[in-house]
């Protein structure tokens, strides 16, 4: 059970990185590791997900509006099944995420995909977020009080 949860957390963490990458970036990284045989279990398709939010930010849910989402599923020759979901209409990106998800679960390729695909993409994402956070921080107001009756 614990092992199952660990693997689930690992898959979610990988997906969280991959969803923020471009299809081209994922494909380029995947080319650096040996690729096992695989087939499409579900051909890439695009559809909608209704985005929900909460009243007041923390109350009962309501439907805010939809977003386009693409999904795909891939099976490795060794049997692992991977799923790919991402915002947007890039079906190829969903397929690449599904392939990565299958590889993450694979005994033979799990370490390689984490090291050569997920980790560098995560680092790139963190750099982008850090830059945005630092640009934002520069616009933070530093209040000071004017003292009257002096000077």
């Amino acid at each position: 059970m614990t092992q199952h949860n660990t693997q689930q957390a690992q898959r979610q963490a990988a997906m969280a990185v991959l969803a923020h990458a471009e299809a081209g970036e994922i494909a380029a990284r995947l080319r650096t590791i040996p690729s096992p045989g695989h087939q499409d279990l579900r051909a890439p398709e695009s559809g909608l997900v209704m985005l929900r939010a909460r009243v007041g930010g923390d109350g009962a849910p309501f439907n805010l509006g939809e977003a386009t989402v693409s999904r795909a599923a891939v099976r490795l020759a060794s049997g692992e099944v991977g799923f790919g979901y991402t915002l947007g209409r890039d079906g190829e990106k969903a397929r690449l995420i599904a392939l990565c998800d299958a590889l993450v679960q694979s005994r033979d390729f799990g370490a390689a995909v984490e090291r050569d695909v997920i980790a560098p993409l995560r680092e790139q994402l963190m750099i982008r977020r850090k830059q945005a956070a630092e640009e934002t921080a520069a616009t933070k107001v530093d209040f000071y009080t004017m003292v009257r009756g002096e000077g």
Partner: protein, 371 residues
Amino acid sequence: MYVAVKGGERAIENAHRLLANARRGDQSVAEVSLDQISEQLGLAVDRVMSEGSLYDRELAALAIKQARGDLIEAIFLVRAFRATLPRFGASEPVDTGAMRVRRRVSSTFKDIPGGQILGPTFDYTHRLLDPSLAEGFVPEAPSMAEASTAPTPRVTDILGRDGLIEASPQAEDGASVGDLTREPLNFPADRDLRLQNLARGDEGFLLAMGYSTQRGYGRNHPFAGEIRFGEVEVEFAAEDVGFVVPLGSIELTECQMVNQFKGSATEAPCFTRGYGLAFGQSERKTMSMALVDRALRARELGEEVGAPAQDEEFVLSHSDNVQATGFVEHLKLPHYVDFQSELGLLRKLRKQFAEASAEANAPDAMKEAAE
């Protein structure tokens, strides 16, 4: 009623060709790309996504290009496109408290935890046209400062800790979430449906409605408790995967309006609230939405209901610009048969009127006889 009229096919085809040329404009001028629209007219894209009720920057940019910059036409195109796609399901509710904020201001507290963060804003600009933007403008690189890792709690959460503001209503167990894209809107409508309606409602309409409450038509003494804009993560419980999968992030603007208190014999007085949320950076929209959301709670809060912004049937039935433009603009389609029957009736009435007048002005003898 309007009827199909034959015989216009060639004219229509040629009109569409002419439209394609008018859309392109002078062909010696470079064509605008979707990336250019998305990157440089980003707030138009945000509005089309919000009111088109579909988060997809590229599609919204295409719609703006196709609509020649007519945003309501673009919203119409996005809504029509959305109807062609299957729905996989609904996301987990997004957590705006965990937003990676790009902007966050409060007009109620100067020193909020996490600070006042101006972000990319038109506020404090002088609204003077800038000729240097006309061509070849390269902005200075943004300033950088060390980013704090301190959380940025919602201002309403801080007020809520002391019970100074009402808590957000929680869902009852097993309650379904209303969806006006699936069932037609009925009145009275619950808050979830009202917020869905307002979130896709026309910004101009909501602005006018919100403004009307400030001018005294349903006054509710608002303070902008907090406005925040930034990125939130979206998660989806995918049945085939068996767990919640991350889908990536979207940009949202949230407005928490803090309004006049309520209280009763049994409840201590506390501030009330109105809520606004929209795709992208949509500050005017979310502020207006929050004002109108609060106004629409008048009945629930035991306030006198009389102003237009408090009338949910009026507000929710007229907020959708695709519906509104459809009905207003259908007037220009052929109504020849309707009009012919109106014309026939009018002629008959005029004839009767003429006959009655003639009778009234008839020789005195007849008049006297009648008396």
